[in-house]
């Protein structure tokens, strides 16, 4: 099984599998690992599938957009994904639909990433364990579901570690990327401004 984005890209360049194949596998993981509570809202599968098919065509023509083309990702629930609920895992914002992509989301989409859905988190980022998720759900650590995955970007870490997505965008004010990355055995980066 491939483990990284770069490795995946090499396989897709070689034609070992297509972005659509990868999406099907990842979506299967999403379905079979719901007990981890990694996601809040999922996109419509058919919509993502169309984007994957467009990526298929680019690889077939030898014109992929880059290493991120056709890579399934998740986006933390406090970052806008156009058309999806953006609630920061709070029922106070239930029903609020993002009218546009956040700049981060837009840049990843422009690079060919397949956004699968929004990742669970501690409500409004006010937590460090992923135990105060959307509607009271507790995000589970894929290494051992009896353990917490760290927070507040809990669903981001859980979705990546369990291969429901190959990467995720979280947010970090006081350790909300670093801590879940640590707890789930991943690599995380809190960028500086700019």
């Amino acid at each position: 099984m491939v483990k990284t984005i770069r490795e995946t890209h090499k396989h897709m360049l070689a034609g070992s599998f297509t972005p659509s194949d990868l999406l099907e596998t990842m979506w299967g993981n999403v379905e079979s690992k719901k007990f981890l509570n990694a996601f809040v809202t999922m996109r419509n599968y058919e919509d993502v599938q169309k984007e994957a098919e467009a990526a298929d065509a680019r690889f077939k023509e030898g014109t992929p957009l880059g290493a991120l083309d056709g890579i399934p990702i998740s986006i933390k629930d406090n970052i806008f994904v156009k058309g999806l609920q953006a609630s920061a895992a709070s029922q106070a914002l239930e029903g609020f639909i993002a009218p546009m992509h956040a700049t981060t989301t837009q840049r990843l989409v422009d690079h060919g990433c397949l956004v699968l859905g929004t990742a669970n988190m501690d409500e409004f980022g006010m937590g460090s364990y992923g135990q105060q998720g959307y509607k009271g759900t507790m995000v589970r650590n894929p290494i051992d579901p009896d353990y917490f995955p760290g927070g507040s970007s809990a669903g981001s870490a859980s979705s990546v570690k369990s291969y429901q997505a190959f990467a995720s965008i979280g947010t970090d004010t006081g350790g909300s990327i670093g801590q879940p990355s640590h707890c789930c055995g991943l690599f995380g980066l809190k960028p500086s401004f700019g």
């Binding site: 483990k3 990284t4 770069r6 290493a67 991120l68 840049r107 422009d110 190959f166 004010t173 055995g185």
Partner: protein, 85 residues
């Protein structure tokens, strides 16, 4: 601050390259492009290819990178799996 979570430093590099830069929608965002390259390099050295060996996908390699460890977080682990890391 938005940032990536991935399976390897190389993957972080790929995602960060895509999202980095000034965000016109964010008044807290800063345009670092006007800084001289040396200054920018100092700030971003952890993602500099010369500092991290990104040649092997599955070999996260931080050789040569200076890291800091916050001692307060180094609690006595109760789980032997954590000790093995």
């Amino acid at each position: 601050m938005n940032g990536p979570l991935c399976h390897s430093p190389g993957d972080l590099h790929e995602i960060f390259k895509a999202i980095a830069g000034e965000d016109a929608q964010d008044s807290n965002s800063v345009d670092f492009s006007s800084l001289n390259p040396e200054s920018y390099r100092d700030r971003s050295r952890v993602l500099d290819d010369s500092m991290i060996d990104l040649s092997e996908d599955n070999a996260p390699n931080l050789r040569g990178v200076t890291i800091g460890v916050v001692e307060e977080f180094q609690i006595e682990e109760r789980d032997p799996r954590n000790k093995a890391i």
